[in-house]
Symmetry: D2
Subunit: 178 residues, 4 copies
């Protein structure tokens, strides 16, 4: 849930968003970018790499808000293009049914997910991408892991806020947990 | 999406909610109450009946907002108890995976769902209820239909805002479309 | 369920298959081929056309058996390539979770699905295809319908054995029922 | 997949079943019995305990074949009653959509699941049970674990054939992985 500043005219100004965040659940999408083979089997999982100013490494799924008057599938496409670049060629699922709903609470422990800033409810999807991924945000890189690597404690501990759990759920959903 | 006024201290005041409604998607849940037999097969679907001051009849699913710091499953239980009474004994699904996500847009035609007041995104669940249902709101009654009756044009045309489509999707999901 | 003869060495001979068909449920897959736009929204549904010797028209989904030691995703790919040709480029779903399970019973009325020859249990998937579809079987053509056309009584009545219901379930699952 | 002998007249005799097992995928169901709270949240997972003649302990899900002319939901109910007793009160899901499809191959490594005797394809469901569970088979006991315990290496290593993975997938599906 490392949201980047969004300054789209006509939507909530940052200070308004702060105010709303204390009062209502905010709708998000989470996307797990994957590479698949000809039979649809997931062979790699893409995670965004972030390095904080203190050198701390963290990894994240593609994630962001759904805006007013924006369809969920448009929000998915927008965030995937923002994080993976314009030629990633994401295959947005035909069905709006998410594999799970991740409820990020400001209070830790209510659910497996935590976001200190807000109560975010995120619709989570696995999204095959077949193109060339070029992360466009400065502090981001994208690393492809095998399902085994993605499920390893090493990667899991680098994913804050419960996104490691959400990744495990995605791996379980596509049948590549082992 | 016939939401009743909610005056819970600490949450959004009505005038604030109006303001936010023009700026952000609002998170909802839709529940389709059903009766099932011993094998889980849906035998009846419960629809709320409303009669407007001009005598117009409409039917609706159980529906309402998810509040700040409220889990989706708690919102489901709260709205089911509010609309069906305290001894309806709803069996909230173990999985948070909804059967679909209904996106109610203020502009008609963007999706099959429409809500003139707001952009509402609703997680939709089929919920078996095994107890005694006693609608508690004044203008409400609950009527149980067979799946065939629920899918009929007569019932469908009494469900505004695309809830007829959502009901058809629920029937399809539980395998009782014919 | 218009299965073509399969003469793969080492699997069941036709007469053996006949014998087993009276004793066990046979595992099938059903695929609903679709065209999607950039956001994953289904814009067209592909149905196979068959014309019987008496001139009767029927339409069908891509359907067929899962063989011994064959993964479900390999069976999906094999039947799609067999019916749509080698350059259809089907995107087999990453998740093995079907949108429904269609139980074709030899006795009509047990479920919405019927197959006079056998008890077939079919895992049903929606499969986007992005390539050029060239049906290879003699009596087959592939026609692309809008979701509205696919749900129309005209098309529905041309789909025997309950596949019209299964198609409606697919449309419901991908959110294009109206 | 510790199947018990089934001697139902009119179905396959044991020697016939052996023959078919080498030629066709056999349809199974797997059920994960759970206890849920009022909001549907899974609080306990039930695993069958088996002690082999050499004292080896193993744990298993409720599992078994779907018979000819038997609906999947009837097979689920039959196997749950067989393993948990007549007053377990299982709540068979309203939807036939399984949370996953487990493909047990006779060759290890093709999928995460393995059954040396056969190629079994199993539809997997999470089933809340609200009654009193009294395992009826001699060598069986039922033990309730918290989700954390069920996901622990200790329990996982006692579940052969990939059922530990299937259990993890069930925990992921109901949102209680941590």
């Amino acid at each position: 849930m490392f949201e980047k500043t969004e300054t789209v005219p006509g939507w909530l100004a940052p200070e308004e968003l702060e105010s709303v965040r204390e009062r209502m659940p905010i709708l998000y999408v989470d996307a797990v970018p994957v590479r698949v083979d000809d039979t649809g089997l997931v062979t790699r999982v893409g995670l965004l790499l972030r390095i904080a100013s203190d050198g701390a490494v963290s990894r994240a799924l593609v994630s962001g808000r759904v805006l007013h008057h924006e369809r969920v599938r448009d929000a998915l496409l927008r965030h995937l293009e923002k994080d993976l670049g314009p030629v990633a060629l994401p295959h947005i699922p035909a069905s709006p049914q998410p594999f799970t709903v991740a409820e990020y609470f400001p209070t830790p422990g209510v659910t497996p997910y935590h976001d200190p800033r807000q109560h975010a409810v995120s619709l989570a999807y696995v999204v095959p991408v077949s193109g060339d991924c070029r992360p466009r945000q400065d502090a981001l890189d994208l690393v492809w892991f095998t399902p085994e690597e993605a499920a390893s404690p090493l990667v899991q501990q680098e994913m804050p806020g419960g996104q490691g759990v959400l990744l495990m759920q995605a791996l379980a959903h596509v049948g590549v947990l082992s």
